[in-house]
């Protein structure tokens, strides 16, 4: 647990001590045993039947969920009193990671345990929790979440589904159409968002299939995750008892948003699990496939890909567990302050909503990169449906779309940061002013000392200045029209993503070195340096594009000089670093960090 309190979004303006973050090298025996159980479940129960799952064999997915339920995999975050394991948040992230390698089954599990179960767990009253949670945790009941409608996707609060109170005041009558409902085909419990009368905001309802008035369209034909049930769900005079209103009237949108915060970091965790397995398959294939009398893993072009897959996975993982522990700490602090656990969990995670959005984007794009290069490493076989990369590639793609598209998440990153700054929760103005002063002042030419990590830390500190320079300039120049300049927001979001992930990777390796010594972390050092090197170039490009779009003349020139200064690095041999990483992967014949 951290010794100093960290606030969400604060990474932009604050330096973090490596000892204050959690790193995956700290998993304890019990957590690793839980992960092994999830891994074994995927290996023994899911991977051997992927084709059957993808053909949507009737009853197969529900039975798989029941098996997962028997092992306790569906109730990891559920309190013991409600039939779950009561594991802490970070542990639940680890099991999410392991189960994330389960293709369509992973989607079914995460929809059930996440958006299916959590709204009731976190917003339900005692009766609702007692009635629904134990059966959801055991897998006896399967859950889905009905938010999206044909005309209401990213703009979730614009849904048209209605709820009308009956004359006797005992029921709500639901009417409307929902779409893209994961697990819709077999769900027993539907969390449905609808507007009561002429309300501005959504309300949420717990709807049992048994209530009647629910009909389903056939399964959607999808690009990937073909085994995951995805249906349109119609509510036609569906009679829901008033006691099944979840939380308060018009609180639905807040529920949806808060549950998505959790969903986003969980998606990052699941993507890491999928990425690690896909990387391992890439490495094994590269070691086996002989061309010109040598395994293709001997060739630099392939080694580049293997190394880059691993570098991005390691980086994404570093950031994900750093944020997970921050959330965990925030939850504990709120509980210690007297808040009830469910509320504290939501609040604690919400505090790190910026990081959750960053991780959602980075995790899903890492998985897509790993899948894409996996196909490439497999060559012709990568394009064959006989080999595993075909499914990995198709199944990966959805992750950039659901739980808020990556574009929506990028917008949110910047929007949330600016809102927090406006509210005074995040002191961006002071540091941004300092950077602005630095631009017109005499440049600071002091060199970092030559202690380990001093140079990289200086670079990270400069990345933050680059963001403050760009974002500060954008706010000043564009003012209220910034929210309409989505390209600029994307630029700033990308700078923030790269900075957070690069910093997390560096902190992890710094902590590793303090635990194991520099000599045994040689490869991880190469990973961190490699990531920071690429991040630096990306930050320059994103910043430059943004500045060029809204500033001009001398002012633009001055800002560009500043940006150049903040993204200046010493020559770095990225090829040699990637070779070091690739050689370790090839020797171990698997993703091994």
């Amino acid at each position: 647990m951290s010794t100093t309190k960290t606030k969400g979004g604060e990474f932009l303006i604050k330096e973090t001590n490596a000892q204050d973050i959690f790193i995956p090298e700290q998993w304890n025996e019990e957590q690793l045993m839980m992960k092994k159980t999830c891994d074994d479940f995927i290996d023994q129960e899911v991977l051997p039947i992927l084709d059957r799952i993808d053909s949507q064999e009737v009853g197969l997915m529900p039975s798989l969920m029941e098996k997962a339920g028997e092992l306790g995999l569906l109730g990891v975050s559920v309190p013991e009193a409600l039939g779950g394991m009561g594991a802490d948040f970070v542990t639940s992230m680890l099991t999410t990671e392991a189960l994330g390698a389960g293709y369509s089954a992973a989607v079914a599990f995460s929809a059930h345990t996440g958006i299916g179960t959590l709204p009731i767990l976190y917003y339900g009253n005692e009766e609702q929790k007692k009635k629904y949670i134990p059966k959801l945790a055991s897998g006896e009941w399967k859950a889905c979440y009905c938010l999206t409608e044909p005309s209401s996707g990213s703009d979730a609060n614009s849904g048209k589904t209605t709820a009308k109170l009956t004359a006797d005041g005992k029921h709500y009558i639901l009417n409307g159409q929902k779409m893209w409902i994961t697990n819709g085909g077999f769900a027993d419990i539907f969390t449905v968002f609808a507007k009561i009368d002429d309300d501005k905001n959504l309300s949420a309802f717990i709807v049992e299939k048994e209530f009647g008035g629910i009909s389903l369209n056939p399964e959607e034909h999808k690009m990937g995750i073909k085994g995951s049930s995805t249906r349109q769900v119609f509510f036609n005079e569906c009679k829901v008892p008033v006691e099944n209103l979840l939380s308060e009237r018009e609180n639905g949108f807040k529920i949806a948003v808060n549950i998505l915060n959790i969903g986003r970091i969980k998606l990052a965790g699941a993507a890491i699990g999928g990425s690690k397995r896909a990387a391992t398959q890439s490495i094994k294939y590269a070691n086996e496939r002989i061309q010109f009398e040598r395994p293709i893993s001997k060739y630099g072009a392939i080694r580049y890909k293997l190394a880059e897959q691993a570098i991005r996975i390691f980086a994404s993982e570093s950031a994900t567990y750093r944020a997970s522990q921050n959330m965990e700490d925030a939850i504990h602090e709120l509980i210690a302050g007297g808040m009830e656990k469910a509320k504290a969990t939501l609040k604690g995670i919400e505090q790190f909503a910026v990081e959750a959005a960053i991780l959602k984007v980075h995790g899903s794009e890492t998985l897509d990169y790993v899948a894409d290069e996996g196909v490439q490493i497999y060559g012709g076989m990568g394009y064959s449906a006989e080999a595993p990369m075909d499914r990995i590639y198709r199944d990966s793609r959805i992750n950039r779309i659901f739980e808020g598209t990556n574009e929506i998440n990028r917008l949110l990153i910047v929007d949330m940061i600016l809102k927090r700054a406006m509210k005074g929760e995040l002191d961006l103005m002071g540091p941004a002013q300092k950077v602005a002063n630095e631009l017109v002042g005499i440049p600071e030419f002091s060199e970092p000392d030559d202690t380990l990590f001093a140079y990289e830390k200086k670079l990270i500190a400069n990345f933050k200045k680059a963001i403050l320079l760009t974002a500060g300039g954008a706010v000043q120049k564009l003012m209220t029209s910034l929210s309409k300049e989505q390209e600029v927001i994307m630029n700033i979001a990308n700078m923030a993503i790269e900075t957070y992930v690069a910093e997390s990777t560096l902190l992890r390796v710094e902590k590793m070195v303090s635990m194991k010594g520099e000599a045994s972390c040689e490869v991880q050092l190469a990973i961190a340096r490699s990531y920071i090197n690429s991040a630096c170039d990306k930050i320059w490009i994103e910043g430059k594009e943004a500045l060029n779009s809204f500033a001009e003349g001398d002012e633009l020139r001055m800002m560009l000089i500043g940006l150049k200064r903040y993204t200046k690095q010493e020559p770095f041999n990225a090829k040699a670093a990637r070779q070091t990483v690739a050689q370790a992967l090839i020797a171990e014949n698997k993703y091994c960090f």
Binding site: E29, E30, M33, M34, T37, D40, F41, Q44, E70, L71, G72, L73, G75, V76, M85, A87
Partner: protein, 246 residues
């Protein structure tokens, strides 16, 4: 019925094996240790099934080894064993069997279920030695086991078929494939594992009768040589000069 399951701590099957100290010691560095699959999948899981069916009231794990093997004992707890004993020492099969027997003698078990062998040394002797020390009957390589009262009915594979044998408790058996199916420890079991009692017992006199002088890796499989199907002369030549089998 009280069941005792002796377990071993062995390198994961995917481990890269190497030796230290002039090839006299197994190099443990970087090795992940696991619960010996034969002890886990066959002996312990069947013992748990007997407990779940009400035929056994308690399943105890026993392990002869050093403190670093305790995670393996807790893995056994996660699978459901009630408690465990670690005898603090290391040695050959005779030593291990003697320690286990001494403990079993003092604490009285009706059934001792060992795996048929370990996956590292494949000695297959501890079960039989325990039976010898305790003067109990021994059934080796059992593929099925059921118990009614004090009578155990077991199946063993024999050449071209199976034989069914009966033996009276107390009894020692070694368990082979078929005895039970592998189980994945569930989350509840894992969380319960940390609170289950693990007793540490000092090892008795060290009667090692064997000492390993050195280890060597086998040459391993060399690459496959492809010969044109029309070129029988080359095949004969290679079988004669390289493989030296004709």
């Amino acid at each position: 019925m009280k069941i005792l399951v002796p377990i071993s701590n062995v390198p994961d099957t995917t481990s890269k094996i190497s030796f230290a100290n002039n090839d006299t010691e197994f190099n443990k560095s970087g090795i992940t240790f696991i619960l010996n699959p034969y002890d886990e999948w066959y002996a312990l899981v069947r013992a748990m099934e007997l407990k779940e069916s009400g035929k056994a009231e308690k399943v105890t794990l026993i392990h002869v080894g050093l403190a670093d093997s305790e995670p393996t004992i807790r893995k056994g707890f996660a699978l459901g064993a009630d408690d465990g004993v670690r005898i603090d020492g290391e040695g050959d099969a005779y030593f291990v069997a003697e320690q286990v027997s001494n403990y079993a003698k003092e604490n009285g078990y009706d059934l001792i279920m060992a795996g048929k062998e370990t996956i590292n040394y494949n000695g297959s002797s501890v079960g039989a030695l325990i039976a010898g020390f305790l003067d109990y009957p021994f059934v080796s390589l059992a593929t099925k086991l059921d118990v009614e009262g004090t009578t155990a009915t077991l199946e063993q594979d024999i050449d071209g078929g199976t034989q069914i044998v009966e033996a009276q408790l107390p009894l020692v058996i070694s368990c082979a494939k078929g005895m039970a199916e592998q189980r994945i420890p569930n989350m509840k079991g894992i969380m319960a594992a940390r609170t289950k009692p693990l007793t540490i017992v000092a090892a008795g006199q060290n009667n090692n009768f064997t000492n390993v002088k050195s280890f060597a890796l086998s040459a391993g499989r060399t690459t496959c040589k492809m010969i044109d199907e029309n070129n029988m002369d080359e095949l004969v030549q290679l079988l004669h000069t390289e493989a030296k089998v004709i």
